[in-house]
Assembly symmetry: C2
Homo-oligomer: 245 residues x 2
DNA sequence: GACGGACTTTGCGCTGGATCAAGGACCCCA
DNA sequence: TGGGGTCCTTGATCCAGCGCAAAGTCCGTC
């Protein structure tokens, strides 16, 4: 049902787990930091960093843990979330190569972070990082701006969670993900979804069944195509309309 | 129904609009900046500021407008929100004395801000503000930390919007407001609610009817007392439990 | 190549909160 | 003291999305 027999699907549509999110480990750090920062700032930060590797499902840090590090994701994808005592979970976002984690430099992490598939990151010791940027106002300002953009996206998210329907949530999620992928140089048509349906549900304030049903319906309507490991966006215009601000 | 005849209510419970939120205009700026910042940082910022006064409902700035100013609220309360083309609204938060607005220093405002009742703020010209803090790394770091706290609260809000029931939303809203009031030296028991039911609804992702019904039920259950212009929290323990993280 | 486990899809009945509709309280101003 | 506007409350009904249950799919492993 999800792949129509007459549909031409350009390779790769086979589930190569996280394939598009792994760009070769050697270059990853370079790619990542250059995407987010000017050369000169990268040169300042680079010497402080140490590599961290995570296997599928491994935790990078836990909510409320003392935040002694700042991270920059270099490959793979991470899930950021909070959990209530009774098990209800809110996935506040996903992190991809180039994203900073813990950049607000608070004493404790605001969320937990774990890996979807395998992932790597640069770790910076927080106090050293703080001292360093204190000596580089331009860099600090740049990092502040990145935090400001995250805050702005958080407000988009509030609107999404508080005032939009299931279909709009799914649409906005997919279009937003596509935009982020394009910005880091990944496919714009076939979206890899390294997170599961349950992660998407807990991100959008829905249940896994509603996510599944809504995706199925969009597939049936020819709006998108569910492929193993992800989704192909077909009717971009309609998706854009349903996720429009 | 909302005020039980046998309940002793300490004055003031009469609706003095925004009474507790107006602390005398002359001292307001001092109070505000001293609350948020150390003395030395206040002395740096103070000379750049100009007073702005807003009447009830007046707009301080609009979403997507070029952000040429940073503000620090000195009296009253503001509503921060986004609106979708079809009229659906998400109130992303409320601002009280001491709060900064536009601190992420992006080119455009992420939300609209208007006054609930009358309000005043300090206005800083954005570029001058930026230049100034570039020369004061400690101050910039402090402001960055404030932004980080706002981001953390935004994530609380996502959890609230995505995963909690109407009653939990109301409970968490009231307890959170109380905590903020305490921090700026206002009453801890009788909460003034300068925003209307519709503002609360649009903040919590509910309808005005659900907000009204839920408050009525909590009143009936002896959990709180609806008084003109606000609410008195009676069963703090139960409220804390229902809003617990 | 078939067994087991994790994830996804689908059907069905249910419910929390939305929607529609009607009053009620309060306030400003005449 | 009364009339009109705004906001709030309450009741009745509806429905989008939830919760449960049962297949179905995919994948790794032995």
């Amino acid at each position: 049902m999800s792949i129509h027999p007459l549909t031409v699907i350009p390779a790769p549509y086979r589930p190569i787990p996280n394939s598009l999110l792994r760009n070769g480990v050697g270059k990853a750090r370079l790619i990542s930091l250059s995407a987010a920062l000017p050369l000169v700032e990268r040169d300042v930060l680079e010497p402080l960093s140490r590599r961290v590797s995570l296997a599928h499902g491994e935790t990078l840090y836990g909510q409320d843990e003392p935040a002694c590090s700042v991270f920059n994701v270099t490959s793979g994808a991470l899930r950021l979330y909070r959990i209530l005592p009774d098990g209800r979970r809110q996935v506040t976002g996903f992190a991809f190569p180039g994203d900073f984690l813990g950049l607000s430099l608070l004493d404790r992490f605001a969320v937990s972070a774990d890996a979807l598939g395998s992932a790597t990151a640069c770790r910076f010791e927080r106090l050293a990082f703080k001292d360093l940027i204190c000596g580089h106002p331009g860099l600090m300002m740049h990092l502040h701006e990145i935090t400001g953009q995250e805050l702005s996206r958080a407000k988009d998210m509030m609107m999404l969670l508080g005032r939009r329907t299931a279909e709009e949530k799914i649409g906005a999620f997919l279009v937003g993900l596509q935009e982020r992928y394009v910005r880091i140089g990944l496919s714009a048509v076939t979206l890899e979804l390294p997170m599961g349906r349950l992660d998407i549900a807990d991100h959008l304030g829905l249940t896994i069944e509603t996510v599944s049903r809504t995706l199925s319906r969009l597939d049936r309507d020819g709006c998108l195509l569910i492929v193993p490991g992800g989704v192909r966006l077909l009717d971009q215009a309609r998706l854009a309309r349903m996720s429009a601000h």
